[in-house]
């Protein structure tokens, strides 16, 4: 299986969008090389701003550009693009519901070797509590490209989160993705795995292996955690009853929590949340960091089996 980092998808899609959309802007914070915006900057200097190491200013500049009819994409790492400029995002992008997009590399534990300071396990949960904000993590290269383009067209603030390292390409160029609409990757009737980001691939492997064991697992790509595709969750509850969520994010307040909210209100179904166990990461290989948090193919299978036993 081919593998590409979704931060590269961002770089490629920016070039395509730069040709197509007159009012597109990119705002860098001195990590353009790492966030893959350099080609855009070279090709479209008049649509590019680099504010230096000053993320709070980036958020404000983006808001100002948006009031002038531009569609700015702020590019930085997830930890800075969410929390360093959090109050600016709330005040200047979300409250006035301006067309500001925040597109971040280094989501979750994916900047593994950099350690906990550069990993970001809180962003999606924090941002989904702000009114008007949309929160997305694509699962591969092609869905990333499609959702970046969709974000350009989607009115209001949008947060997109990418991986630092290559991840399997699971979709094709012709696949269609819509913000807020989950995508069924595998059909199944015994249990449902709801996943987003690169760990969807891990869930896919687990679901495939379980199929050979005679267990029919539905796999859903929940690339958008806000607005959550409530219908997809309800179908999982009423058609399979058992749900596992998996995300490269704190299990608090991310995809698992969003799904749990729907299930609690329905009063139906059984849930296991997989993800970062409310603790900081450290430097090390990405797979080992996930394993520390119980996020492996074997763990997915074990959790599905446990739910099936009850």
């Amino acid at each position: 299986m081919n593998a590409i980092a979704t931060r590269d998808a961002f770089g490629h899609e920016l070039l395509a969008m730069g040709e197509a959309y007159e009012n597109l802007y990119v705002i860098d914070c001195d990590i353009g090389k790492s966030c893959k915006t350099v080609d855009f900057q070279i090709r479209f200097p008049a649509k590019h701003v680099n504010v230096g190491i000053a993320e709070q200013n980036a958020a404000g500049v983006a808001a100002g550009l948006a009031t002038m009819g531009k569609v700015p994409f702020i590019s930085t790492y997830a930890v800075f693009g969410s929390m360093r400029m959090l109050e600016q995002i709330r005040q200047e992008a979300c409250y006035p519901n301006l067309n500001v997009k925040i597109a971040c590399s280094h989501g979750g534990l994916t900047p593994a070797n950099d350690g906990a300071s550069h990993q970001c396990i809180e962003d999606m949960g924090i941002l989904r509590t702000i009114p008007n904000m949309t929160v997305i993590m694509p699962a591969d290269y092609w869905s990333a490209r499609k959702l970046i383009d969709a974000a350009y067209h989607y009115p209001g603030p949008v947060y997109l989160r990418f991986t630092r390292d290559p991840i399997p390409v699971i979709y094709t160029e012709t696949d269609v993705f819509e913000i807020g609409r989950a995508r069924e990757v595998l059909a199944g009737k015994d249990a449902t795995i709801l996943a987003n980001g690169d760990v969807l691939s891990l869930a896919m492997q687990a679901a495939g292996e379980m199929r050979e064991e005679g267990v029919s697992v539905r796999l859903i790509d929940m690339h958008t955690i806000k607005p959550l595709d409530r219908e997809a969750v309800l179908k999982a509850i009423y058609e399979t009853g058992r749900i596992v969520t998996i995300e490269d994010h704190n299990i608090l307040n991310g995809l698992g929590s969003a799904v749990a909210e729907v299930m609690a209100e329905e009063g139906k179904g059984k849930l296991k949340r997989m993800g970062v166990q409310d603790r900081f990461g450290e430097s090390g290989p990405y797979e080992l960091l996930l394993a520390d948090n119980g996020v492996t193919v074997e763990d997915v299978k074990k959790n599905v089996r446990t739910l099936l036993q009850d």
Binding site: V51, G52, G60, M68, G69, Q91, E92, Y95
Partner: protein, 279 residues
């Protein structure tokens, strides 16, 4: 047009007195709001909305209008008053500051108030948004200018200086910063809370063309604004030395009036004092 007559100055001074009376009425009726900083900014706001800025009250979203960012958003009564007196919305709104469902929120809300170009209220953020506007205007070849008013207290915020260096980098000569240097902030004097140091020197160091003026001399304000019309390569900063509570004797230089509404007797006295200017 860069010339102005003594008559223009006198008219603006009288207009400023009306602005002061109206904003005090708003705050008095709302029983909350920020009179001190509204009054220190009143002369500059009058000059901006009744002399310098190109805006169209009948078409508040006119694409080529000059933009205004009230970074010190808590003094919105002076902005609302200027907009109302210019005809952006009816004078009846004077009664609706901070009321439920009102177009006049406690801090500026661009979605509700005609003529408000950006929502503000959280201090230190307005200059960044103004930089974004000025970059877009410049790159689109629009002649419009972006005016932003800062408080001296909010220059405590680091983001002001992040924004200032970016204004300088992008040579935003279409960006005009006005600093309402009234030397008081919420908890006390700026010197006691967090000394601003020499704001004019600081903005010069950040690459601005800086003018220092008496922020209550209408002639000085108008002259400074005219001077900013020259094209150049640097953003502009007018450091205006002002008096918090200016125009109402018992409010002048009194920290308490930062965020307190006058009661009926205080309001009546304030109006009497301002009426003397109008006579």
């Amino acid at each position: 047009m860069t010339g102005y007559s003594p008559q223009t100055i006198e008219e603006l001074e009288l207009q400023a007195a009306v602005v002061r009376k109206t904003l005090l009425q708003m705050i008095h009726e709302a029983r909350s709001g920020h009179p001190g900083g509204s009054l220190s900014a009143a002369d500059m706001m009058t000059a901006l909305y009744f002399y310098e800025m190109r805006v169209d009250p009948a078409n508040p979203k006119w694409e080529d209008r000059d933009r205004f960012v009230l970074s010190k958003g808590h003094v919105c009564p002076v902005l609302y008053t200027a907009l109302m007196l210019r005809g952006f919305f009816p004078m009846e709104e004077v009664h609706n500051l901070r009321k439920k469902g009102s177009i006049l929120q406690g801090h500026p809300d661009m979605k509700r108030t005609p003529g408000v170009d950006i929502s503000t209220g959280s201090l230190g953020q307005g200059l960044s948004t103004a930089v974004g506007m000025a970059i877009a205007a410049k790159r689109d070849g629009r002649k419009l200018r972006v005016f932003v008013m800062l408080g001296d207290g909010e220059c405590n915020e680091g983001q002001i200086w992040e924004a200032a260096q970016s204004a300088s980098k992008y040579q935003l000569d279409n960006l005009i910063v006005l600093v309402d240097n009234n030397t008081l902030q919420n908890d006390g004097t700026c010197d006691a809370i967090m000394p601003t140091l020499d704001l004019a020197t600081k903005f010069k160091a950040f690459g601005f063309d800086v003018l220092e003026i008496d922020g209550h001399s209408m002639e000085a304000i108008v002259a400074a604004l005219c001077a900013t019309r020259q094209e150049g390569i640097r953003p502009r900063c007018i450091v205006a030395h002002t008096v918090k509570g200016k125009g109402v004797s018992f409010m002048e230089n009194v920290v308490m009036w930062h965020g307190m509404a006058p009661d009926a007797a205080q309001y009546a006295q304030a109006i009497r004092e301002i009426d003397r200017v109008l006579e």
